[in-house]
Subunit: 201 residues, 2 copies
C-alpha cells in the first residue's frame, strides 16, 4: 500500500520477490545479493533499494509472501473435504513440488541460517512454522477421530516430527539431486500413520 504508486507499481516488487525467492531457496539468505537479482531482472541495484530499502526488508517480505502462499495452499486442502490421510498426502505434495523445482523450502533454508538473520526475518520464520504445525495438528486430530489416521502420543508432537522430517528430507534429497529420496522417506513415515495393525513386517 504505502509504496504501490503507479499502475504496475507492485509488479516490479513482485518480480523482484520472484527472483529473490528462487535465489534464496537455492543459495540461502547469505548466498545471494542485490547484484544477483539486479543482473537477472535487468535493473540496477539502486532500483532494488527503492522497493526494498534493506536486505532485512527483502527477507521479511520473502518469508511473509511465502507463508501467505503456503497458507493459501493448506486452506485449499482443508476445504477439499477429503479424509485426513488424503489431506496429509496433499500437504506433502506441496513440499514435493518445491523440491521438484530443485529448490529447498524457503523457511527450512532460512532456519539453517537462523543465527545470521535480521530479527524481523527470524520472527516471520517462526510464525511460518507455528502456523504449519497448528494446521498439521488439526488434521492429525481429525484423522484420529475419524479413524483415518493412527498414532500414539500427542498430535502436536507428530506434527513436529512431520515438519522436521519433511524439511530434513528435502535438504538431503536436494544435496543428492535425487527427489526419490524424499519420496521414500515420506512414504516410510506415512506408513506409520496408516490405521492398520502392523505388528509384523
Amino acid at each position: 500500500m504505502a509504496r504501490t504508486v503507479g499502475a504496475n507499481g507492485a509488479a516490479t516488487a513482485e518480480h523482484i520477490l520472484d527472483v529473490a525467492e528462487r535465489l534464496a531457496q537455492t543459495r540461502g539468505f547469505n548466498g545471494f545479493s542485490y547484484a544477483h537479482i539486479a543482473a537477472e531482472i535487468g535493473i540496477t541495484k539502486a532500483s532494488l533499494h527503492y522497493h526494498f530499502p534493506s536486505k532485512a526488508d527483502l527477507g521479511r517480505a520473502l518469508v511473509a509472501r511465502y507463508a501467505k502462499n503456503f497458507q493459501a495452499a493448506t486452506a485449499g486442502i482443508l476445504a477439499s473435504g477429503e479424509d485426513a490421510l488424503v489431506k496429509l498426502k496433499q500437504y506433502v505434495l506441496v513440499y514435493r513440488q518445491v523440491l521438484g523445482a530443485d529448490r529447498m523450502c524457503l523457511c527450512g533454508m532460512f532456519a539453517a541460517e537462523y543465527a545470521t538473520l535480521p530479527e524481523q526475518v527470524q520472527q516471520e520464520l517462526r510464525r511460518f512454522f507455528d502456523e504449519n504445525e497448528r494446521w498439521l495438528t488439526g488434521v492429525l486430530e481429525e484423522g484420529l477421530r475419524q479413524g483415518a489416521l493412527q498414532f500414539e502420543g500427542h498430535a502436536r508432537d507428530v506434527a513436529g516430527l512431520l515438519t522436521g522430517a519433511l524439511e530434513g528430507s528435502m535438504l538431503l534429497a536436494r544435496s543428492y539431486g535425487d527427489g526419490t529420496r524424499f519420496n521414500a522417506s515420506v512414504e516410510q513415515l506415512l506408513k506409520t500413520l496408516v490405521p492398520r495393525p502392523r505388528a509384523r513386517a
Copy 2:
C-alpha cells in the same frame, strides 16, 4: 603430514578447525569469514591462509574431521554390543549433544548451502551422509533380525527417514532455541520402530 612442521605444528591447525567448526555450525559456510576466526584466535588472517590456503580447503577439512569424529562415535556404539534399539538411541544422543551446544549438525548446515559450496566440500559432504546411512541400515537390519526393532519396507529407506528427520528436527529445534522439540520428534519416531503391536492408540 605435508604441513605438520614443528612440535606443535598441528596444534594451531586444530585450534583453527575448532573455532571454524563452531562458527560453521551456528552461522553456516557463508556466514563466517577468516576475519571472524582470526579475531577469536588472536592471529592474523594471513596466518590462517598458511594453514588453510583457501576457504575451500578449510571447508573440506572441516567436513573431513567432523565425519572422522562421527565415525569414531558410531564405531564405538557398534562395539558396545547393546541391542539395536539401544544403539539407535545412542546414535540419536550424538545428535542431541550437538544440539545441546546450540549447534546444528555441520553437515546438515552445509547441505542447506550445498549449491554455493566448493565442489570438494560437496563431495566430502555426501560421503558423510552415505556413511551414516550405511551404518544406520546395518543397525536396522540387525534389529529386525533380532526382533529388537520393527518396520516395514527397506532398511535403507528407514535409514534415510531417520537421517532426514534428525537433521530437520535439529534445524527447527535450534530455530526455536528449544531442544525439547528435538526430543519429542525423535521419541515419536522411535515409537514406530519398537516391536509391539500398535494397531490402536
